[in-house]
Symmetry: C2
Subunit: 151 residues, 2 copies
Amino acid sequence: MIRPGAFFEDFAVGDRWETGGYTFTEAEIVDFAFRYDPQPFHIDVEAAKASIYGGLIASGFQTLSVCFRLVWQTAVLSNNMGGRGLDELRWPRAVRPGDTVHVVVEVLAAEPSSRADRGNLRLRYTGLNQRGETVLEATLLHVVRRRPPAD
Amino acid sequence: MIRPGAFFEDFAVGDRWETGGYTFTEAEIVDFAFRYDPQPFHIDVEAAKASIYGGLIASGFQTLSVCFRLVWQTAVLSNNMGGRGLDELRWPRAVRPGDTVHVVVEVLAAEPSSRADRGNLRLRYTGLNQRGETVLEATLLHVVRRRPPAD
């Protein structure tokens, strides 16, 4: 069972946990996108209506960042030492203002590092909206601290 | 030659272009991370000094978002209809306050879509700092509009 404050040794392949939710507001969608992803369908409600999406949608980079924040908030990864990267990120469905997203995390692999104080995790993130539809899938590569030896 | 306003037909495998730069400030690193990635080494200068990084580093999600923004700003992808996802994202080196990052983009693949009005691009993004060191590598999957038929 993975709990807040887990160390590398506590993660086993197949373990899962779930985050709380976050409601994407129009304000935050436009604000994030105006800085980082100012495509018309992310920052301009009128242009978004005329686009293939039929309305404003969140930047996929915001969706990714929010999903990570939700996972971080569970404190299960509080011994995370960093991220090496991620693989196979997909956004199967757009996130729209008012959508509430939460994340299910599954441990795909847990392998010792060449460095004694840490191990490598492959974690599958699945972001789901309030209807249970997948809005994000990605495999994140985390480096997590091992339990320090008792003094 | 790819130019601003390019349509799908204008992209050929091997084509490259380069963005301008962006200087990561301490303020923006902490601000982004406080919302989306509040790990101590992204938001707390003192904790970051004591971490394995020896100082504050930018969230990898911010680095990704900034790299996309720089690419968007070239207007080469102004006919982008959306993103399907990304593969093999790595952050080989941390981004620190004061670092200036720009992106080199290379076309890895350009394939027609089943829909007549668009095509699929695989683009390799390489983010480089002011010393030429790679801070981000990723393959992004873009959907780009085809040139509309002349009236």
